[in-house]
C-alpha cells in the first residue's frame, strides 16, 4: 500500500492509503484516532472538518492524502497543550459557545486562522470570516462573542 508522511500536531506520522484521493479527514479520524474534525457534508460546504495545514484553515474533506503529503497539519486536539487550552478554546468555554458542538471544531479552527491574520477583528469581520461555517443549533451569537473575547475584546 502506498505510504504517506505527514506531520500532525507536531508529530511525524506515516499512514497508508490504497487511494491517493482519500480525503485526510478519514485518515485523521480513523487511522490516527483524531476525531476532533467532523464529517458534516464531505462537500466543502459546512466547515465541520476544518484543520490547519501549514497554518491555513483547510476543509479536510476536500484535501486528499496525496495533496497533504509532507505537510504540517494541526487539528483541534493539537491546539491545547495538555490541560492548557488555546486562547480561542478557552474563550469558547467561557462563552459556553457550543450546544451539540458538532460544528465547534470548524468554528474554533476558523477562528484560530482568523486571529492569526487579523488579531483585532470587528464583529462584522468575525461574521464574514465564518460565513461558510454552518451551525444548526443556533449557537452563532456565542461563537461570535467567543471569537471577539479571544481577540482580547472586553465583553459585557
Amino acid at each position: 500500500m502506498p505510504v504517506y508522511h505527514l506531520t500532525v500536531n507536531g508529530e511525524k506520522r506515516t499512514v497508508e492509503s490504497t487511494d491517493p484521493e482519500q480525503p485526510i479527514l478519514y485518515i485523521l479520524r480513523n487511522d490516527l484516532s483524531l476525531t476532533g474534525a467532523k464529517y458534516g457534508c464531505g462537500l466543502g460546504q459546512c466547515g465541520a472538518c476544518s484543520v490547519l495545514v501549514e497554518g491555513d484553515v483547510i476543509r479536510s474533506c476536500q484535501l486528499t492524502i496525496n495533496q497533504a503529503s509532507g505537510k504540517k497539519i494541526t487539528t483541534l486536539e493539537g491546539l491545547s497543550q495538555g490541560d492548557t487550552l488555546h486562547p480561542v478554546q478557552a474563550a469558547f468555554v467561557t462563552e459556553q459557545a457550543a450546544q451539540c458542538g458538532y460544528c465547534t471544531n470548524g468554528m474554533v479552527m476558523n477562528a484560530v486562522a482568523l486571529l492569526a491574520h487579523q488579531p483585532k477583528p470587528t464583529q462584522d469581520d468575525v461574521k464574514q470570516a465564518l460565513v461558510n461555517n454552518l451551525c444548526r443549533c443556533g449557537t452563532h451569537d456565542r461563537i461570535i462573542r467567543a471569537v471577539l473575547r479571544a481577540s482580547g475584546k472586553v465583553l459585557p
Binding site: E77, A98, N132, T139
Partner: protein, 745 residues
Amino acid sequence: MRHNQNHLHINRRDILRAGSGLLIAFASGVATAQQKNTPQIAPGKTLKADEVDGYLDIKQDVSVIVYCGKVDLGTGLRIAIPQMVAEELGVSLQSITLIEGDTALTPDQGPTAGSSGIMRGGVQIRQAAATAREALITLAATQLEKQREELVVENGRVMTMARDKSVTFASLLEGKPFSLKIDEKVRLKNPSSYTIVGKPLPRPDITAKVTGKHPYMHDVKIDSMLHARVIRPGAIGASILSIDDASIAGLKDVRIVRIKNFVAVVSSNEWTAIRAAKLLKIQWSDPASLTGHDKVKTWMQTSFADNSNAAGKETLIKKGESGKALSDSKTVLSATYYWPLQSHASMGPSCGIADVTKDSATIWSASQATHRLRGVCARILNLPTEKVRVIYRDGSGCYGTNGHDDVCADAALISQAISQPVRVQWSREDELGWDPKGPPQLLEMRGSVDENGKLAVWETDMWLPKATASLPNIPLLGPDAAGISQPQGLSTGLITQNAHPPYAHPHLNVTVHWLKDSPLRPSNIRAPGKIANSFAVESFIDELAASAKRDPLAFRLEGLADPRGRAVCEKVAELMGWQSRPSPVNSGHQGRGFSYVHYKFNETYVAIGMDVRIDRKTGSIHVQRIVCAHDCGLIINPDATRQQIEGNILQTLSRTLIEETTFDRSKVTSIDWQSYPLLTFPEVPELIIHLLDQPHQPPLGAGEAACAAVPGALANAIYDACGARLRTVPFTKERVKMALEKGSA
C-alpha cells in the same frame, strides 16, 4: 461532576453479562481522567421508573450515580439534572456521575422530546432525590437518636442543626438499595433556600467539545467493527431492477449486503465503503409517486375536497356561534398561511453502530428515544426486547426524530446479516434527502373586529396530515426496503396546538381537515406544529389589529388576562421602547413586529419583538434585533436556558427565512447545503433575551417554546416596514417582492 460519556473505544469482550441479564460496560482504550472514574454498576439494579433505585445509587465513597432516561441533545440537561439532584438530595455537584439513555441502566422516562427533559424527566428525578433524602433523614434519626425535625442534609451527610453529630448517606445505607417507591407527594426543598438550582453553572461537556475529546456517536469504535454505507433508492418507493456487482470489482475489501431492496456496501475501511457506494451501479424503478413541493399547498386542500386524501373533519374547539357572528359582521377578514416541509438538517449526518449476535444485540445510538428504539430494533431483528441494549452517545443536534433511528436500523440489519459489528454513517445527501420531514401545514383564518375595535370572532381551519394513533415508531427506511414488516402510518408530533389566539374571543371555532397521507415521511420536528400555528395566529391577529387601525400590542393586551402572559409582553415592549401606533409605519423599509405565545396554552410564556429593514429593490430582509422575554417557571440553569432560547430563535429564523425541502415527482432535490441553505453568520441579528424567573412555579420547558413566537414577529415586522404581508414560508426575496407588488404572498 463527571459524565460517563467517555468510551471512545469499546472492547466487545468488555461488555460482560452480569446477574439478571444486566449488561455492564467498562471502558477501555484511550484512558481519560473521567474514564478512570467510570462507575461499577451494581448488578440487579432496578430499571423501574417509579422507584428511587431506578435513578439513584449512592456509593460507599458518597459519590452518587444518577441514571437518567432523558438525554442531553446538546441542550444542557447534563448540567441541569445534576443541579436538581444535588440540590434536593443534599450532595455536591462534584459527587454526581450522570448516566443517560442506556436501556440496560436507566429507567424508561420516554423520549427526550416535546421540551420535556426538565419538566417531566427532571421533575421525576427530583422526586426520587427528595424521597431518598427523607428516607435518609428517617434512618439518621434512629441512628443519632434525634427527632427528624432536628436534622438537615448537606454534602452527603445527615447532621444535626448544631452540626455536632453527623452520619454519611453511605453508612446509613450500608450498601443496600433504598427499595422505595418514589413518593409523588414528597416534601420538596423550599426554593428560597436553593444554592445550586438557579445558578448559571457551566456545562460539563463544553471543554471536551472544544478540545476534540468529547466522544460523539460518530467517534465510537468497536473491536472488529466494519464500515457500511447504505445505498438509498433512486426514487422514493423504488425497487431494484438490477445490480451490477462488476461496477465495484476494482475495489478490494468490499462486500455487498442485499436484503430485497435494501443494499449496503461494507468494508473495513470507511473511505473504501464510501467509494463503493458511489461506484456501485444499481438500476431502480421509478414510481414517480410524489406531488412535487410546489404543488403541496394546493394539493392539501384539493385532495381533501375530492376525498382522495381525506381522513375526516374534526372540530377541536367551539365557543359561541362563530359562523353566525361572522355573517353578522360588517367586515370579515380571511387569510391563508402555509408552512412547507422542512428537514431537521442536522450538522452531522446520522450515525449508528450495531453489534448483533445470534441471540442479542447492542446498539450505540444518538436517538432521542433509546428505549423506544430498543423495542423497534428487537422487532426488526426478531429478538426478545430484553436481549437488546441501546446505549446513548451524543450525536449532532437532532431537533426531533431525524435519521438517528433509521441509521441504527440500517446498522442492525447489516450487522445481523454479516455477524459482525457495523458502523453506518449517512452522507449529507442521505440526511437531507431521507431524514423524516417536518410535515406541511395549511391554515385558513377568518375573523372580525367589533365596532369598539375589539376581537369579536375567530375561526381557524387547518389542513394537516393525521398522525396514526398509537404508532410505536416512525416506519424506518431500512426495514421497509428489506421487506420486514413494521407498523405503518404517520408520525407528526402534536401539531394542532396553539392554533387559536390566547386573547379573549367571544366566538371561536377551530376545525381540522385531516389528511390521510403526507407528501414525504413525516416526523416530529422541534415544536411540532406550534411554529406554523402560532405564525398564522400571530400574523392574523396583527392583520385584524391593522384593519382596526389599532396598535398591535395594545390590541393583544386588551384581550390577555393571564398576568404571566402580560408580563412577558410588557417586558418586550419596555426593552424595545415600543411606541403605540398602528401598523404599517410610513417608512417603507424599517419596521417592528411583535408576537406572543403561551406554549401549548399551559406551558412556557414567550414574547418576541423584532426590528427589520427591507430592501425594496432586492426583496431582502435584514433582521436587526430580536428581543425576547421568556417565562418557563423555575429556572434550573439560567445560562443553559438562555442558550436554548438563542438556539430556538436563530434556528426558527433560518426555517422562516430560507428553508424548504424541495422534491420532484421521484425524490427530494434539496440534498446539500446549497439546495437546502441555512442561516449564516452575517444574517445573525442582535439578540436580547430576558428571563423571568418564577422560583415558586414548576419548571417548564425551554427547548421549544421560543421557536413558536419567531415567524409571527418577523412577518409582522415586515408588514410594519413595508405593508407587504407574507403568509407563505420561506420568506424568499421573490416572495417579498411579490408581496410588495400585490400586498401579500
